[in-house]
Amino acid sequence: MSGLPWAVYLHVPFCVRRCHYCDFATAALSLHPAERTARVQRWHQAVQAELASSPPRPASSVFFGGGTPTTVPAAVLTGLLDQIRDHGGLLPDAEVTIEANPTTAEADLFGTLRAAGFNRLSLGVQSFDDRLLQALGRTHDVAQAVRAVDLARAAGFDNYSLDLMFALPGQSLADWQRALQRAVDLGPPHLSLYGLAVEAGTPLEQLVASGRVQLLDEDLAADMYEWALDWLPAQGWEAYEIASFARPGRRGQHNQVYWRNEEYRGFGPGAASYVARRRWTNLAASEAYAAAVLNGGDPVAEHEQRSLAEEQRETVYLGLRMRDGLEVARFEQRFGSPLDATFAAEWQRLQAKGWVERTPTHWRLTRQGVLLSNQVFLEFV
């Protein structure tokens, strides 16, 4: 397989503070500046080493995620992108995304990042309501977010995505509709919409358990999501994946690699990789990860080898996340087995419930199937 392109993910675990709902690998939030700098340096060395020791395959897309990547010096980020380019190469049209919080301080970096070859920004706007932003534990306000979008465009990022959350505590349907309208008015080519979910071990979980935060009614959350599914396409948007919406021609490339169940390599603490049917995840704690890599050890926390049958099942339910669905011919080309017959019983059950449909070329979710997608995927795990 060496030499074939893969997608590259790079995890920057640092944040100014942790949001109440976040369960990603993040670190070094409130340390003494000197210690914080030392940790960033150890992480940086370790990621460089992990990159250097990986097979030199070209990247079809690159994604710097976090944490908040823009909390480390721009030179570190651009240096790592250079290393990726020098090591395995970057395909000519490769999408190179970096996540950023829409604060003015970070916006100062946008020009540097753009010049270094980052060509897409993912901005964690989350909400257009200062009260809700505060409740989520975010570090920015609405005015900063609006300004950050302007700065991004001015810096030459014509390709950017806004993350928005719905089903926030105290949010009404009208609040959500206004938020989405405001987001669209900013003119982004791409939107990612997430319903607030309570993850184990997060501050949000404790807030909910203690009754200090009341989660939104499930039906209202469904109303919000359905409204977006109807309204955005009416404005000319493509709802091309369960949570992803794009102006025509502006779909995100990187995440589609996950949904097509293709190969990707993740670097950094907590990063996940999928190569040669093996899935693994690095140690999530930044210090432990760095120690493992720098001592010449293995930073892998968990790994599993998937069988051919498992790869097929994963390909199906990941593919169904996309609006176009799972292309029958492509599946058969990849596996040499017929998609209809291999999962005849599953398709039959799901069709009977009205959750999937067969187009001439694809299997895809119906509207109800989108809403109940986890129930559909359960058939394939």
Binding site: Y9, G65, Y225, Y258, A272, S273
Partner: protein, 607 residues
């Protein structure tokens, strides 16, 4: 032959947590037969479950040599008794094996409901009772007040009472002397035909059933051919021994001796508690009095969540029965739950223990239907039917009358909580028998209550209404005719037989409403609306709806961590697997138990 005058056989009886097990440990330790390494806390208990429930399910017996102040060596046979009302028959047989009993009373808490119940059991066996005030080292200890209670409430002279602390090792020697001085020695002719009482039996996977016996007359010898008088079955003794407390083989046991018999007996059904062991060649003319076969009082349906586990469940029940002669079961079919078993238990605790062991030791995911009692149904054609399962109640038109079992319940409570206790008993269809201010701190309330009304949460509610102070004991006491009806539950129009309940007509409407609401709180939302109805026959009492869930979406990709996403899905799938599919509705296990719980203690009610 040993000198009978230097043997004492006795039990310790007490209210729960008054220190019975600690005292037993201490007697064993002080009499010097256990070295410290061997000494585990509460040595007489053996099963994990017993430890968790804080009670002793199966009695054991220990032989303690004691050098008394008169210079003579005595043999003290300490016979342990179960500490729960479910096992009152077993308690009575253990007491039958004794001449005396230590009645332990907590120096701070005083006489409680089980103190009285155990005292009466010991009196019925004609035992000499030695009061023991324990925990005198506690700051709240009040020995004079406890002595008064013993005299006033129990009418037991407290002159010989011994004040000790088992935990702090205070006056254990004094107690041992008092045992020798005040408890009578056994009598019995070693040359008479053999009669030995089985007061307990256990199952050992390698050695089969082990019978714990007290020789009353005659002599037991190693290799002897013995006969069980209730069944007539004969066995050759493979090992005869005593517990010191380690099992120690011995050549013979005479009158007053307590020990064990191992005789290649495959099931405890052949070593029934209360049975008499005699010599196969020269049998005694008459068995010892008091033997009763175990009679189950509480019934529950046991169904595997996965119907493929049916045979595993049967095997597990058969294995449990090898060491639990009181457990009975027969196959049962439920329209809703498929193939399963209706199992009979001595009481609620016994039921919980069996259910837990099935899940824990045999790894079977189980649905247990709400516990039920035995109803005697007289149908209009004059026939009498015994119903163990509410679903089997005949049509109301065919029923002439229904009789339900009742208990005589004794509640001891500080006077402040008399009102709440009476109120609880009244709402449970109780009939007040006596109310007695037995001492300034203790009021004794005696009620006649339907057994069905105390099955599920009576004890928990009693505890919560009395801030933990009230104590309860009960004994089965006849039956009564009652105006009972069967309330059925329907889910999307399908009657779920396993959720049927027999209730008094006066509460059927309200309870039907509660049941619907409770199920609505428990049932997870599904892809379609769920309609819940409670009915008597064709008459709908109440209904509730669970609206369909509309959204089950995980948006984020976890940065490509597909493994993690998949594990979350697998967990969700496992949760579904543990639910029971009825029609097209998935019902979680707890729904079946929630049925008869009242709102005060049900988790659903606290939501």
């Amino acid at each position: 032959m040993s000198d009978l005058s230097r043997i004492r056989c006795f039990s310790i009886v007490a209210h729960i947590d008054h220190g019975k097990s600690t005292l037993a440990d201490r007697l064993i330790e002080v009499a010097g037969t256990v070295d410290q390494r061997q000494m585990r806390a509460q040595l007489l208990d053996s099963m994990d479950l017993e430890r968790e429930h804080g009670i002793t399910i199966k009695a054991s017996a220990v032989r303690l040599p004691y050098l008394a102040r008169d210079g003579q060596e005595y043999t003290l046979n300490l016979i342990d008794t179960p500490g729960h009302v479910d096992f009152s028959y077993e308690v009575s047989r253990a007491l039958q094996a004794c001449e005396g009993a230590l009645l332990v009373v907590d120096a701070a808490q005083g006489v409680e409901a089980q103190t009285i119940a155990n005292y009466h059991l010991a009196l019925e066996q004609g035992l000499t009772i030695l009061p023991v005030i324990n925990k005198i080292d506690l700051p709240a200890a009040d020995v004079p007040r406890r002595l008064e209670e013993i005299e006033e409430i129990l009418s037991l002279p407290a002159d010989d009472a011994v004040a000790i602390s088992a935990r702090a090792k205070i006056n254990i020697d004094g107690l041992l002397e008092a045992i020798v001085r005040h408890l009578p020695p056994p009598t019995g002719d070693p040359d008479a035909p053999l009669r030995a009482l089985i007061f307990d039996s256990k199952f050992d996977p390698y050695r089969g059933a082990v019978a714990y016996v007290r020789v009353v007359e005659g002599t037991l010898r190693a290799r002897q051919n013995i006969r069980m008088m209730s069944t007539g079955k004969s066995f050759e003794i493979g090992e005869l021994g005593v517990f010191t407390p380690a099992p120690t083989p011995i050549q013979s046991l005479g009158p007053g001796d307590v020990g064990y018999i191992i005789a290649n007996i495959r099931t405890v059904a052949d070593t029934r508690v209360g049975d008499t062991v005699t010599d196969a060649a020269q049998p005694a003319a008459e068995a010892l009095p008091g033997y009763q076969p175990a009679k189950p009082m509480v019934f529950s349906g046991l169904y595997p969540v996965d119907s493929n586990d049916y045979h595993d469940l049967r095997e597990a029940l058969e294995k449990l029965q090898l060491n639990d002669a009181a457990l009975s079961f027969e196959p049962e079919t439920s329209a809703a739950l498929g193939l399963g078993f209706r199992a009979g238990f001595l009481g609620l605790l016994h039921m919980q223990i069996v259910q837990e062991r099935l899940e824990r030791e045999f790894n079977i995911d189980l649905i247990c239907t709400a516990a039920s009692v035995i109803y005697q149904i007289l149908t209009t054609d004059g026939e009498l039917h015994e119903i163990h399962n509410p679903a089997n109640l005949p049509d109301p038109q065919r029923i002439d009358q229904i009789e339900e079992p009742t208990v005589r319940a004794t509640i001891m409570t500080p006077p402040d909580y008399v009102g709440p206790c009476l109120d609880l008993c009244q709402t449970r269809r109780g009939e007040l028998l006596t109310l007695e201010y037995a001492s300034p701190t203790r009021t004794m309330i005696v009620y006649k209550l339907p057994l069905a009304e105390i099955l599920h949460d009576f004890f928990d509610v009693l505890k919560s209404r009395s801030r933990g102070y009230a104590t309860l004991d009960y004994e089965l006491d006849g039956s009564q005719v009652a105006d009972l009806v069967k309330v059925d539950l329907m889910i999307n129009g399908d009657k779920v037989d396993a959720l049927s309940a027999i209730l008094h007509r006066s509460v059927a409407q309200d309870r039907g409403r509660e049941l619907c609401d409770r199920l609505r709180a428990i049932l997870p939302r599904q892809q379609f609306e769920i309609r819940i109805q409670a009915s008597i026959g064709a008459k709908i009492l109440a209904s509730a709806r669970v609206s369909a869930f509309r959204k089950d979406v995980t948006a984020k990709c976890y940065g490509g961590d597909i493994s993690r996403k998949r594990k979350l899905l697998e967990k969700q799938k496992e949760g579904k697997r543990r639910m029971k599919q009825i029609g097209s509705v998935e019902i979680p296990q707890e729904a079946f138990l929630a049925v008869l719980r009242s709102d005060e203690t049900s988790p659903a009610g606290k939501r």
